[in-house]
Amino acid sequence: MELRFTEAELNFRQEVRDFLAAECPAETRAHMIAGKSPTKAMVVEWQRKLNARGWAAPEWPVEHGGPGWSPAQKYIFREELQMWPAPSPLGFNINMCGPVIIEFGTEEQKKRFLPRMRNLDDWWCQGFSEPGAGSDLAGLKTKAVLENGEWVINGQKTWTTLAQHADWIFVLARTDPAAKKQEGISFFLVDMKSPGITVRPIITIEGGHEVNEVFFDDVRVPADHLVGEVNKGWDCAKFLLGNERFGQARVGASRERIRRLKMIAKETLDGGRPLIEDPEFRRQMTEMEIELKALEMTVMRVIANETKRAGTGKPDPATSVLKIKGTEIQQGVSELLMKAAGPYAWVDGDPDAEGSNDWDVAPDWAFGLAGIYFNWRKQSIYGGSNEIQRNIMAKAFLGL
């Protein structure tokens, strides 16, 4: 039993920090500290810097350009980026579609897509959810029919994150309408420039454009853009979702937000004194900190078990904690940030946006805090709602 990081791991952490200090653009960092999502240009610029350093695809095998890191190094890297904060390697490319192609794709597909993914020459997006298939993803209705050696896709996807930036989309579609639910689904790679694709923005309640509807109207896809076997796309989907071990724990991101919260709470007056001196506010913040510390240790336990469990397919009960607690902490901190700003959190909009309000009306740090609170309600909904997580836990770990 050894509950500490090794010397080498601590050195690696410093190496990552040094890289961030040297290479992450100050503008990107400031933008993210203010609570805003990095722009497309920021993400692309950063991903290419990571790629130049060989760090663009932490989870990939070395032969495909991965850095060959241990689970602990991957963890350190992920958390340090979140804490800085800097953009993470683009999830659609690196954590979702890339690993599926590596696992199930042809040599041709690997050669064609993986290097461009790593360098963000292509921005990918995910075509899974549909209006009638959310928690019940296998209920999807989009269908693909083989005609003259090409697949013809018709249907509608929704909640497609950042489809407006995307060059490619990976799509689950039903290829055997007669088969049972999970069977008869296939996994396709589709060029977003294909005729018949329409992207329609969904504006979320805080006013942001993050997700989209994507319509497929007789979209033709070459036969070699199918990944794995026909009608076995559910295997790809399960594999992809199963890779999401740590994605929603976001320990580093929460730590960064708590730092921000403490800064704001020092600047805000409450009862004539800095808010951070209010015992009740401090208690609420401290509760987040203790759960975050426990979550950090939980992540480490899962990491330490990774190698051992590899191949057994037996998930660690601690894994299921990561989504629930990770999102609870993030939502809790976003609520505290909004509360800390008091009445000034109510100012709508983005101070940098064209034709926006005159942004002298509230302190700089107050902007967007309510928006983040509203937007982050999504965290307990997407990626398998926290209720679905509890169902899974009851079945998989509790035997109920």
Binding site: G132, I202, G342, Y344, D348, V361, A362, A370, F374
Partner: protein
């Protein structure tokens, strides 16, 4: 005890309900919000016609002599439609100052215009350092001849961008957080030295930051150095109104959630058939019913003559309903899932209004602490 409406109250409720149901659907509301003022002049005229704008004023002042129960009924309906018009700022806040603080002359000057929908009012109170403390005032009022000139910056002035007159708290004497030395002054929006920067709030309302630079007040309400009790009284009534608005909004978003649960299918069943979700919906009902009780209590307690007891009670109201509305707002989003995260669906707008309503005139933590510091509601043995 009797929680039933009398006949005239029922008529009042019906008339508002019918009007808002007909003209304040979700699509209407979007159009009103997109308009230049950010709310509907047409609806405002309707409110005047229905008598809502003159309702709480005495008949001799040109009003209809409605009591707090009638105001509660109006507020609940406003909450059900999360309306955008400056009813709260003009009739509840401005009207509160007129009813409790203005002399006959000022009432005669203003009430008629308010009742007719021609005069809009706003309460300029919050300052950068004040957060939720009504007595934390740095804006100054200086004697100048027979009148007063006001200097200072007020933020988050609800509907300050369309107001004709501001009721402004300003300090005549004492230090920033002294409870004495504060007066309530009336300053027309057209006065020299008034500059207004309007903006939208996250729940779709309008507000403004207002600078007063040696702006001349037309009136002072009562004692220029003893205005805080008046402010407290007006705000306590406003808290009762916010409570009733919250009830209306919670009822609607809860019903919307139940409807969705009955229709939305996942795994081949309506999601409302899942027990874990049923229990969450039941917990929302518990919170709403407790809040409804508290809103009745608020309407009664806001009229209390013992100012300290009244404040304690209103702290309790704000804290109890605050907790409830946070739970109801968050759970309504959670139970809907993604759909409620979109601008095109009504639930998210209710959630946003409930969020702002919770924090208005002090959030749950603020009032919980204030009540605890004041000894709570139960006397020690």
């Amino acid at each position: 005890m009797d929680f039933d409406l009398n006949e005239s109250q029922s008529l009042l409720q019906d008339s508002i309900r019918k009007t808002l149901t007909a003209k304040y659907g979700f699509e209407n509301r979007k159009a009103y919000m997109a308009s230049e003022t950010g709310w509907s002049r047409e609806m405002w005229a309707q409110y005047a016609e229905l008598g809502l704008l003159g309702l709480p004023f005495a008949e001799e002042d040109g009003g209809f002599g409605g009591g707090p129960e009638e105001t509660m009924l109006v507020a609940e309906q406003m909450g059900r439609h999360i309306t955008l018009e400056p009813w709260f700022s003009t009739v509840v806040l401005g009207g509160g100052f007129l009813r409790h603080g203005a002399d006959t002359a000022l009432r005669q000057e203003m009430v008629e215009g308010v009742a007719a929908g021609e005069t809009l009012l706003a309460f300029a109170q919050t300052e950068r350092q004040s957060r939720y403390d009504l007595f934390d005032v740095q804006t100054t009022a200086k004697k100048d001849g027979a009148g007063w000139v006001i200097t200072g910056r007020k933020g988050m002035v609800l509907h300050g961008d369309t107001a004709d007159h501001f009721f402004v708290t300003a300090r005549v004497s004492g230090a920033s957080r002294d409870k004495g030395g504060i007066g309530v002054f009336v300053v027309p929006a057209t006065a020299d030295g008034v500059s207004v920067r309007g903006f939208r709030t996250v729940d779709g309302q309008r507000a403004a930051e207002v600078d007063f630079t040696g702006a001349r007040a037309t009136h002072v309400l009562g004692d220029a150095e003893g205005g805080l009790p008046l402010v407290d009284r007006v705000v306590d009534e406003a808290i009762a109104v916010l409570a009733a608005e919250a009830i209306g909004a919670m009822d609607v978003v809860h019903a919307m959630t139940l409807d969705y649960m009955k229709t939305r299918q996942q795994f081949g069943r309506a999601i409302g058939s899942f027990q874990a979700l049923q229990h969450k919906a039941a917990d929302m009902l518990v919170a709403i019913e407790q809040s409804r009780s508290m809103a009745y209590f608020a309407t009664m307690a806001a009229q209390g003559s013992d100012a300290a007891e009244r404040r304690r009670n209103m702290h309790a109201v704000k804290a109890q309903i605050g907790r409830s509305q946070r739970l109801v707002g968050q759970q309504s989003i959670q139970l809907h899932g993604g759909i409620a995260m979109t601008m095109e669906y009504a639930a998210g707008h209710y959630f946003k209004r409930l969020t702002v309503n919770e924090a208005m005139f002090g959030d749950t933590d603020h009032h919980l602490r204030a009540l605890a510091d004041a000894g709570g509601l139960v006397q020690a043995a």
